[in-house]
């Protein structure tokens, strides 16, 4: 009996140590960052490509108001409700005073300056694929935006999910901290599109369905699924007939520019904010996104099988 207890304790301790090791925040150190100072103009472009304002502007902000990153937008997920924080350059309420490395680790590793994990409602899973220099450029631009005061509510989460350390285990399962890897043999346009879609554009954060643990179902990339907020669905954007198989590349590029689909319907819901960001990109970049979307594996919409059309 005593022997059993000892073994049990040892195993538990080993388990805890492994857990502690696995959940340890993995960060980039300041020495490994490129030394070129951030470029404000380039950063502005990245700001639109990566859609920070869609989540961090005050809810219902329109036009110029979207540059005041006061936070407060609520995200209802199966794991609880998250509130986007203030990321304006305000010293008290926002992220004024953060160093480049603090910012890079938040965006690309999901780790705060004091070493806590962020929840993946912040799409760092996609942003980990971004080019580090571009993230530094982005910070230079965001430093020029208005500093605003705001009080954002705490996340409203059931107990087990309040424990941030546990997110390390989630990251261990789903996050590889690898940079974007170009597809061998694909054209430059397709690769540029792949970078924009899987990295800054974080299209998969909405368009790729999630498993029970909230990780992406990589076999169903971009195939859409029920919306995380529980109502409606998010479109399949693979070139399958359930998706955008009958859209031409020109149709896709033009819808990202204007918001009108080929049938003169429009984007709705959260896609409107995404589209309005895409409208700030160059025509070549929108064409690249279109070329990439047409090149991915066509996948059916699974939810249509479960709930057959009447």
């Amino acid at each position: 009996m005593r022997g059993f207890l000892k073994v049990f304790l040892l195993l538990a301790m080993a388990g805890a140590a492994v857990f502690w090791y696995l959940t340890e925040p993995k960060v980039l150190d300041a020495q490994s960052l490129p030394t070129t100072p951030g470029d404000v103009e380039k950063g502005k472009y990245i700001f639109y490509a990566s859609g920070c304002a869609s989540c961090h502007a005050a809810p219902d902000a329109k036009g110029e108001e979207k540059l005041a990153l006061a936070g407060g937008h609520a995200f209802k997920t199966p794991f609880g409700t998250f509130y986007a924080p203030n990321i304006s350059p305000d010293e008290e309420d926002g992220i004024g005073g953060w160093s480049d490395v603090d910012f890079v680790n938040a965006v690309m590793r999901g780790v705060s300056p004091d070493g806590q994990h962020y929840y993946p409602a912040f799409p760092y899973m996609s942003y980990q694929r971004m080019n580090v220099q571009e993230v530094i450029d982005l910070k230079a631009y965001m430093d020029t935006l208005p500093a605003v005061k705001s009080q954002v509510p705490d996340h409203d989460l059931p107990l087990p999910f309040r424990f941030r350390r546990g997110l390390g285990a989630w990251k261990f399962l789903f996050m590889d901290n690898k940079p974007f890897k170009a597809v061998q043999g694909a054209s430059d346009a397709v690769n540029r599109g792949a970078y924009l879609v899987t990295g800054p554009g974080h299209c998969g954060e909405c368009h790729t369905p999630r498993n029970l643990l909230g990780g992406p179902e990589t076999d169903w990339q971009l195939a859409g699924g029920p919306a995380p907020e529980g109502k409606g669905v998010i479109s399949n954007i693979t070139p399958h007939r359930d998706g955008i198989g009958d859209w031409s590349e020109a149709d896709i590029a033009s819808s990202l520019e204007t918001g009108f689909t080929p049938s003169y319907d429009t984007f709705g819901g959260s896609m409107v904010a995404v589209q309005e960001n895409m409208a700030h990109l160059s025509a070549e970049d929108r064409a690249a996104i279109a070329a990439y979307l047409k090149s991915v594996e066509p996948r059916p919409s699974r939810w249509k099988e479960r709930k057959p059309e009447k």
Binding site: K231, G232, F260, S263, Y264, T266, G269, V272
Partner: protein
Amino acid sequence: MHILSKFAAVTALTVMSTTSFAADDPIAARQNIMKNVGAAMKAAGAMATGKAEYDALAAELAVRTINSSAIGFPMFFPKGSETGGDTEAAPAIWSDMEGFSKSSAQLATDSATATEAAKGGMDTFKGAFFAMAKNCKACHEKFRIKKN
């Protein structure tokens, strides 16, 4: 080309007037109204973007269709029609009927402006058309949820 766009606008108008009788099925009625709005947008948009030759009468007919659709559109969202059929109407319509009606009224105003502007030629029409076109997304962003 302009014969075609004229034809599209006129068809849209006629379909529009027939659907108004379908008030006993508000979901089907409002979806048909929106389908016609879409068809009218297609005709008007082709001209505003220079993909089709500008024809003042066809342009005017198209935006007039949109105008008559927008007027009274919220009537097709009575209580009890929140779900059913394959409606994509968002619950926000009923929790914020005032905002929804405002959004609809804005489209009515801007399409009336575009109807006037159509007479002034392509250049005046273009500006009014794009100002009107903003209303579609603005309402769909808040008040519509994709179902498939």
